[in-house]
Symmetry: C2
Subunit: 428 residues, 2 copies
Amino acid sequence: MSQPLRLGIAGLGTVGVGVVRIIRKQAALIEARTGRPITITAVSARSRDKDRGVSLSGYAWEDDPVALAKRDDVDVFVELMGGDEGPAKDATEAALASGKDVVTANKALLAIHGQALAEQAEAAGCLIRYEAAVAGGIPVIKALTESLAGNEITRVMGVMNGTCNYILTRMEETGNGYNSLFEEAEALGYLEADPNLDVGGIDAAHKLAILSSIAFGTQVDFDGIEIEGIQRVSIDDILAAANMGYKIKLLGVAQMTGRGLEQRMQPCLVPDSSPLGQLAGGTNMIVLEGDAIGQIVLRGPGAGEGPTASAVMSDICDIARGWHGPVFGQKATTLASATAALSQRPAAFYLRMGLLDKPGALAKVATVLGEAGISIDRMRQTEHRSDQAPVLIVTHKCSRTALDEALDAMAHTGVLASDPVALRIEDL
Amino acid sequence: MSQPLRLGIAGLGTVGVGVVRIIRKQAALIEARTGRPITITAVSARSRDKDRGVSLSGYAWEDDPVALAKRDDVDVFVELMGGDEGPAKDATEAALASGKDVVTANKALLAIHGQALAEQAEAAGCLIRYEAAVAGGIPVIKALTESLAGNEITRVMGVMNGTCNYILTRMEETGNGYNSLFEEAEALGYLEADPNLDVGGIDAAHKLAILSSIAFGTQVDFDGIEIEGIQRVSIDDILAAANMGYKIKLLGVAQMTGRGLEQRMQPCLVPDSSPLGQLAGGTNMIVLEGDAIGQIVLRGPGAGEGPTASAVMSDICDIARGWHGPVFGQKATTLASATAALSQRPAAFYLRMGLLDKPGALAKVATVLGEAGISIDRMRQTEHRSDQAPVLIVTHKCSRTALDEALDAMAHTGVLASDPVALRIEDL
């Protein structure tokens, strides 16, 4: 096992440069741990001349990542370009077609094309590893695939997009609205080139789709996720939730039910004393639940050069040590086709509404809820604002269908000053 | 890869029975994940007739675990007996001598004999895996060995004994003293047969010794750990710490320093808003820090049938998939001999003392601290109790040596009503 493991790295942005840095800095340590040297043969990026603050001397240069992926002197193709189409996909396919293992941080590619790529890889006897694709430095792929291999997974959930969590945390801290904090995050460089990937929940949903596949033995089903971003989370809701002992998080949840696979990525309330409730700023957190283990919680940096490169190195070191296994925890050809199921699992809900200043308005709302079979855990009416009476309600557990019926009936009572806000409260 | 992996399980207590249950219940799921069936060939325990609530039919019985370990029809010897000498050690050595891989949950065995066993295993081309030995269901061995393989580890710390954390949490909740909560934990069956293993910090120190070896590439050095149990933690300190925004935890910390390896297992203060501070009850938490990843936090059940068996299954499934690697993250023969270094890293300290009711008493204490170069971050004198004035001090960072000198000088001022309590405040 003293032959070097030779890498070809495509993409020299933050993460690619981080990987190069680690391989140069920790060569001896890594060789002691994996039993063989890990070397870089060739690299590829859009611009050859850019100063990246790290020496690329000694590495061959390829303008075309596909050419890089096919090189005979590359054992592992490290795909750090990103994007679910174009060069990342082409080069990954080329690497697999050339019999090479692939390490990638590309959540979009796997969420959209994971099944086809996994089938291609496994037919060719190659690996695809992607610890860095989900929750940055948090070792969730390994924990789910390997550490929980003896468990029937019952639920996977987490805060998987640091930018959204940063915005929501800062909204509560500052009392400012979404737009103001969106601008702050943008100024800090926290947003993707297409900000909707972050604030629209798409990036986090890509990650959830990957976790669901491993957890439940189903083909990656990104389209089956109910996705709602944080753009409509109002500062009023954040403050009202805080006042009642909750935080609002963009929370991903996946569960297998009798009717199919529920996957949700949406703003939810969680108790502020829970690990998820206490997660402030850009940190990520994943909660894994299994029939034997109960619950484990993994917390760490979800992005950034060092943490993401650390996760990429974890995959590379595993390959150097001879790791092998299927892409999504079991053979791709044995993964079941996922049946997407809208969430019908009863939950408590948080409701906020403005009532017109009319006698009996609150009674009408309460009556509508009662008629839908929804009982009220807590209700608060706060001081009037102009002509509205703000009302907060936390329901006992009810189905989303019953709630939607009640909201619909409420709209016909003539006492609402505006559409009510309804957010799920996730059980922890 | 369709040949079954055949286990011989020695020890049918809580964990052993848990492993049998999982293998019977999840056979199909595990085979889908690992690519081969996992079967039990033979079992061994002290009493054959005990009703364990799980069927052992179909498994051969061995009275002698050494005989079990040598059976030709066993591929992996699963050691769940416990104890650092006697049958566990003998059978583990016999298994390795017969060329079999070993999975164990035995922290004491590895903390005391880990180096010799690792050398034996690696010389024979065998594995020893032990995810369940540290922090139960938390996948910390895997995270440290595999997920952080590209990192220079800078610090490992954590709450690794659920019983101690339970007692400390309940002391704060109830306001009762240590003895009362020790009895409560005993009544609940939370204590080892020798309670000093728990409350004396020994069990947690066994775990820390194992983590240190992997983290820093050193031979397991249990004797190099500064160990202090929780027996002397008083309810006064818990309440005073809470009052100043801290929790007291039995915290294990390992760091490599220029002078050698610091390993401490002792009661420390941590900010109550930190993940460690928020850890209540019997749950465990491990914090891993590396140069690339920064910090990750792993939280989960540290004991119990399901979680511990889940960790054992993780190792078994890895072996079924063909995992191989050295026992402590790099070849045992390359592990450095650890030089134990007492902690000289500056830290803030919490001091509690009773002063005699004399004019100038507080000034004398402050003067002594100042003369030792220790500056005071916060000081509180609370209402007198009988003839004493209770004083709480939080220092700025200072060395333990300077603090010990100050405490010594303080003893000669004639103003102390009793020996001061000094507890380290760990940086998080």
